[in-house]
Amino acid sequence: MADAVAESSHGHDKHVFHHFVDAHQQFDASKMGMWIFLATEILFFGGLFAAYIIFRSWYPQTFVEASDSLNRAIGGINTVVLIISSLTMALAIHYIQRNDKGKTILFLGCTWVLAATFMVIKGFEWSEHFSEGMYAGKAYAYTGVTASHAYIFYSLYYLMTGLHGIHVLVGMGLITWLMIKTKRGQFSSDYFTPVEITGLYWHLVDIIWIFLLPLFYIVA
C-alpha cells in the first residue's frame, strides 16, 4: 500500500499524463496501442497480399514470367539495406535506454540515410520499369512477357511496393522528428516511448518488405 501511495506522489513526472498511474503503465499502454495499430497495418497490406495470392493462383504462368523481368540483385540489395536500417533502429533504442543521446541520434541518422537509400534505389528501379513500358493496368506497354494479363502482376507490384514506399516515407518523417526531439533532450532512459514505438513501426515496414522480396523477385 505504501508503495502505491509513493507511486502516486512521485510517479507524475512531466511525461506522464494525469490519467495514468505511473510512467510504466503509460509506456505499456503506448506499446500495446502501437501493436494494435500494427495489427491493422497487417490487415491493410493483407488485402493486397490476398489479391496477390488469388491472382497468382489464376495466372501462375504470367506471374512466373513477369517476375523474371524484375532484377533480383537489386531486390536483394534493397532487402539488405532495409535489414541494416532495422538494425540501426534497434541500436538507437538500445542507446536511448542507456541514456546515450549522441549515439541515439547517430543511429537514428543511419536509419534515415538507409531508408533514403532504399527509396532512391526503388526510384531508379521504377523509372527503369517505366522506360520499358511496364506500367500498371491499362497503360501497360511492355512486350517482354508473353503470358496474358501480365499487367495485373505489375499493378500488384506497383500497388504493394508503392504502399510500402509510402510507409517508408512516413517512417523517415517520424525518424526526423525523433532526431529533433532527442537533440532537444526530450528523450532519456526515463522516457523513450516514441523511439520505442517508432522502432516497432519501422521493423514492421521491414517485415513487409521481407515478404515482398520473394513474392515479386524470387518466386519465378
Binding site: 508503495d3 501511495v5 499524463f17 494525469h18 490519467h19 491493422t40 491493410f44 493483407g46 495485373i152
Partner: protein, 581 residues
C-alpha cells in the same frame, strides 16, 4: 466466477467509502467555457457529447432521406423525384446511416462517455488520439456531405464493381470520406482496447465488468481487424478508376466477385460493430431494471466475443447467388447458422434475468424489452436468409431490407435509444419527461413495425430492393410502409422535443436515479472532469443489487486522509494498477 479469480494473487488494500455529491457544481460541462474549450477538449465525456451532436445530425439528415424514399414509393411510378435522384438518395441514406451513424454512434457517444467511468479511469488511454478520431469522423462526414451537394453518387452504399468503376458519379470523393472515417473507427477501437486493458480500477477484474464494457471490447476488436480491409478495398476501387489496374475490372481480367469478398470481409463484421455494444447496453438495462444479478454472466460475456469472432467468417452469405463457388456458399451458410447459437444464448439469459426479479418498466427498460422482441424477429429472418435455397428467393429483395432494418433499427438504434434514456441523467444531470418518453417509445415501436413488417411480405413476394418503379400489385403494402415511416418520424420529433426541454428546463437528476451498482453511477451527475475524486476500488460484480450501495463506493485511502471508517480488503491483483502497487 469467483473461483477463477481465487487462484490469482491477491493484495491487501486500505479502502474507505467515498460519497460524491449528487450534483457537482463544477462538472465537465461547465468547468471550462467557450467554444475553444470544446473544440480542443481531450475529455472523453466532452468528446462523447461531440459525437452525440454530430451523429444526431447525421441521423436526422439520413432519416429525412429515408422519408423521401418512402414518399417516392407511394406510387408505382414517379411520385416526387426522378429515378436518378432516387438512386442517389438511397445511396446517401445507406452510406450516411452505415458509415457515419451506425458504426460510430454507440462507441462514439456511449463508449466514449462511459468506458472510463465504468472502469473507474480518469480518461481513455490516449485522449489526444481520441480527439483526432472525432475530427477524422467529422472530416469524413463533411467530405461526404460536400460530395452530396456538388455531385450525386448513385452506386449504392456497397460500391459494387464494376458499376462503381464505370459510373460517372463522384465515387472517389465519396470513398475518400469513408476511408478517412475508417481511420477514426480504427483509432477509437485501439483506444478502447488499451483503455480496458490498462486503466481499470483496482479490483476490477474481467468478471466484474459491466456488460457494456464487454460489448465495446468485442466491437473494438472487429473495428481493428476489419476496417483496414475496407480501406484497402476502397483504395483499390479508386486505383481501378484512376489507373485501371485490373484487380476488380472484369474487362481487364480482374474479378468483380473478389471485390465483394473484400467488401463483405469488412461490411459483414461491421454489422456486428453496430450491434455488439447494443447487446452490452441491453444486458445492463435488463439487470438494472430487474434489480437482479445478470443470469449467466460468463455465457453472455463470452458469447459477445464468440459473435465477434464468428462474425468474421460468414461474409460470403451475402454472395450465395453472386457467382462464388458452391463449396464457399455451403461453408459460409454453415458458419452463419453457428452465430445463431451465441445470439440465442444472450436472449435466453436476458429473459432468465427477469425471472424472479423486481421489474420496473421505466423507459429504458421498455426499449430493452422491445429490443428483445424486434431483434428476435431480425434474428429469425436472418436464419431464413442463411438457408441456402431460401436465400436464392429472398436475396436482394425487400425481405433483406426488412431483415436488415429489424437488426439495425430494431436492434442497434433501439439499444442506443435505451442507452441514451438510461444514461441521459448522468450525461446532462437532468431528467426528462417520463410520460412524453413513453409516448415517443410507443410511436417509434408501432411506427417501426408498420414501416418494416410489410416489407417482409413484399420481399417474399419478389419485390426487389433499390427499385424506383415497381409493379402495381405491390402498391398497397408500399403505402402501408410509407404511413409507418410517418408514425416513426413523429416519434422522433416527440423525442427531440422532450429531450430539448429536459436540457433547458429539466429537473436536476440525482447521481443514481435507477439504483444501479456500476461505477458510473457512483460519481456526481454530471460527473466532474476527472470523473472521481478518489481512486475507485471494485470488490463486487456489476449487478450485485442485494448488497448495500456503500460497498460500491469504495476508494483507495490517500495519504492525506485521516479519520472515517477504514477497511482492509483483499482483492485479486487482476488489474495493472494493482500489479504496480
Amino acid at each position: 466466477m469467483e473461483t477463477a479469480a481465487a487462484n490469482r494473487k491477491t493484495v491487501t488494500m486500505k479502502v474507505r467509502r467515498y460519497v460524491m455529491p449528487e450534483h457537482s457544481e463544477k462538472n465537465y460541462i461547465n468547468q471550462e467555457k467557450g467554444l475553444k474549450s470544446w473544440l480542443l477538449t481531450r475529455d472523453h465525456k466532452r468528446i462523447g457529447l461531440m459525437y452525440f451532436m454530430t451523429s444526431a445530425v447525421v441521423f436526422f439528415v439520413a432519416g429525412l432521406l429515408a422519408l423521401t424514399i418512402r414518399l417516392e414509393l407511394w406510387t408505382p411510378a414517379k411520385t416526387i423525384i426522378d429515378a436518378q435522384t432516387y438512386n442517389e438518395i438511397f445511396t446517401l441514406h445507406g452510406t450516411m446511416m452505415i458509415f457515419f451513424f451506425l458504426v460510430p454512434a454507440v462507441p462514439g457517444i456511449l463508449g466514449n462517455f462511459l468506458i472510463p467511468l465504468q472502469i473507474g479511469a480518469k480518461d481513455v488511454a490516449f485522449p489526444r488520439l481520441n480527439l483526432l478520431s472525432y475530427y477524422l469522423y467529422l472530416m469524413g462526414v463533411i467530405f461526404t456531405v460536400v460530395t452530396i451537394l456538388t455531385h450525386g453518387v448513385d452506386t449504392g452504399w456497397t460500391f459494387y464493381a464494376p458499376y462503381s468503376i464505370k459510373s460517372t458519379a463522384a465515387v472517389i470523393p465519396m470513398t475518400t470520406g469513408i476511408f478517412i472515417s475508417g481511420f477514426s473507427s480504427i483509432l477509437t477501437g485501439l483506444n478502447f482496447i488499451v483503455t480496458i486493458h490498462k486503466l481499470r480500477a483496482p479490483g476490477l477484474t474481467w468478471g466484474k465488468f459491466p456488460l457494456f464494457v464487454w460489448g465495446i471490447y468485442g466491437t473494438s476488436i472487429i473495428q481493428i481487424l476489419a476496417t483496414p480491409v475496407l480501406a484497402i478495398t476502397l483504395a483499390l476501387v479508386v486505383m481501378e478508376r484512376v489507373l485501371h489496374v485490373g484487380i476488380f475490372d472484369p474487362a481487364l481480367g480482374g474479378d468483380p466477385v473478389l471485390y465483394q469478398h473484400f467488401f463483405w470481409f469488412y461490411s459483414h463484421p461491421a454489422v456486428y460493430i453496430m450491434i455488439v455494444p447494443g447487446f452490452g447496453i441491453i444486458a445492463d438495462l435488463i439487470a438494472t431494471f430487474s434489480h437482479k444479478r445478470l443470469f449467466g454472466y460468463w455465457f453472455v460475456a463470452i458469447s459477445t466475443l464468440a459473435i465477434s469472432f464468428l462474425g468474421f467468417l460468414v461474409w460470403g452469405h451475402h454472395m450465395f447467388v453472386a457467382g462464388q463457388s458452391m463449396v464457399a456458399s455451403i461453408v459460409f451458410s454453415l458458419i452463419t447458422f453457428m452465430i445463431g447459437i451465441p445470439t440465442g444464448i444472450k436472449i435466453f439469459n436476458w429473459l432468465a434475468t427477469m425471472y424472479k426479479g423486481s421489474i420496473r418498466l421505466k423507459v429504458p427498460m421498455l426499449y430493452a424489452l422491445s429490443f428483445i422482441f424486434l431483434f428476435s424477429i431480425g434474428g429469425f429472418t436472418g436464419v431464413m436468409l442463411g438457408a441456402l435455397s431460401v436465400d436464392v428467393q429472398l436475396h436482394a429483395t425487400y425481405y433483406v431490407v426488412a431483415h436488415f432494418h429489424y437488426v439495425m433499427f430494431g436492434g442497434m438504434v433501439i439499444a442506443l435509444l435505451g442507452g441514451i434514456h438510461f444514461w441521459w441523467p448522468k450525461m446532462f444531470g437532468k431528467m426528462y419527461s417520463e410520460t412524453m418518453a413513453r409516448v415517443s417509445w410507443f410511436l417509434i415501436f408501432v411506427g417501426f413495425n408498420v414501416t418494416f413488417f410489410p416489407q417482409f411480405i413484399l420481399g417474399a413476394k419478389g419485390m426487389p430492393r433499390r427499385y424506383y418503379n415497381y409493379l402495381d400489385q405491390f402498391q398497397s403494402l408500399h403505402q402501408l410502409s410509407t404511413v409507418g415511416s410517418w408514425i416513426l418520424a413523429l416519434g422522433f420529433f416527440v423525442m427531440l422535443g422532450y429531450l430539448l426541454h429536459s436540457l433547458i428546463k429539466g429537473e436536476k437528476a440525482p447521481a443514481n436515479p435507477w439504483d444501479a451498482r456500476t461505477l458510473e453511477w457512483m460519481t456526481s451527475a454530471p460527473p466532474p472532469t476527472e470523473n472521481f475524486s478518489y481512486t475507485p476500488v471494485v470488490i463486487h460484480g456489476p449487478y450485485e443489487y442485494q448488497r448495500p450501495i456503500s460497498e460500491f463506493q469504495l476508494g483507495l485511502i490517500n495519504n492525506d486522509h485521516h479519520g472515517g471508517e477504514e477497511h482492509e480488503i483483499e482483492a485479486p491483483s487482476g488489474s495493472p494498477e494493482m500489479a504496480n502497487a
